[in-house]
Point group: C2
């Protein structure tokens, strides 16, 4: 017999995460209340605590999972050996991945300061591993003479900021398509390092 309320552990959990992601991305972690999230999920506020110990864990799990999936996706991406081709592949991967997950990306770099100190450390370590993947490409390219940049660390930060910025303005159905955007960013990244 159909009941209005009942067991939904298997779907309420994911729905909670989806609702939190949506609201955190749109309004910011600190500005979103557990009651708002509950309303989005369609349950009462108290019911959320069956699926998360607290609001902080909701944010932390979201950010850690995002960074781990990003690193896993990068590891799974086939990257050519030649530095220029490798950088191009990285840039394309970065733009594509970030356009696919605008909410996670936005949260991941806007809500760092709302993590507890321990959680911040964990997420920062993951973020640093990602940055190092790019820095290694740049170092190799400098060593081989393919790139001309005065400082690999600065260039790493500059390129990541430039590429991540795509999420700030890109809108599906707009003037430029995803493939075009990917092309142009990859080209700018290559030229920026003198390839």
């Amino acid at each position: 017999m159909a009941r209005k309320t009942g067991s939904h552990a298997d779907i309420t959990g994911p729905r909670l995460r989806a609702a939190a992601r949506k609201l955190f991305a749109r309004n910011g972690f600190a500005a979103v209340s557990m009651r708002q999230i509950a309303a989005e999920v369609g349950v009462q506020a108290g019911a959320l605590y069956l699926y998360t110990p607290d609001k902080q864990a909701l944010l932390f799990d979201m950010m850690r999972e995002h960074m781990e999936e990003l690193l896993a996706a990068l590891a799974a991406e086939p990257l050519p050996d030649a530095p220029a081709r490798r950088l191009e592949a990285f840039a394309r991967f970065h733009v594509r991945y970030h356009l696919d997950r605008p909410e996670e990306v936005f949260i991941a770099y806007m809500e760092l300061r709302n993590l507890s100190p321990e959680n911040f450390e964990t997420v920062e370590r993951l973020r640093h591993r990602y940055e190092e993947a790019l820095e290694r490409i740049l170092r190799d390219g400098v060593a081989s003479g393919d790139f001309r940049i005065p400082d690999t660390r600065l260039a790493t930060m500059a390129l990541i900021a430039m590429l991540t910025g795509v999420t700030q303005w890109f809108r599906a159905g707009g003037r430029l398509g995803r493939a075009e955007v990917e092309d142009i960013y990859a080209g700018m990244a290559l030229r920026a390092v003198g390839a």
Copy 2:
């Protein structure tokens, strides 16, 4: 005769704005309470309302003033005519200005979503004027054949994101000095547009 409490309208106002700027930049608008700001100023929470109608106005005034000062400073900056030299001057100005005001910059692009709809519109218009100043340089450079970029609007957003990113990692007294950083970013910006 010295009094413990008294008239401080001339100094409490600026101190309030400075405290709010510091705390908003560090912890985020939504996460900062009026009591925290009052404690930073050294007054009681109620006293703040002598200097601002509410918390929202505190944020809005800060952001509007920042954008207006940024536009005024750009207008006052001597920019050469040649597109490449003009872009270089813009990039140097942007990096310098943003390194000089890390807190304002951080707030200006992290707290947009905490503005009321009307206030958001006002700030967005100012931001758009700044972006257009760069886009005009890029358009001129494309027209003159100095720059090779497939899309000026995308290149505008990419360059601004890249240059603004300096505030995310730069620390005074670190490995690189401000002049060096300015040089490198300007060089990357020029190369990115094929100059």
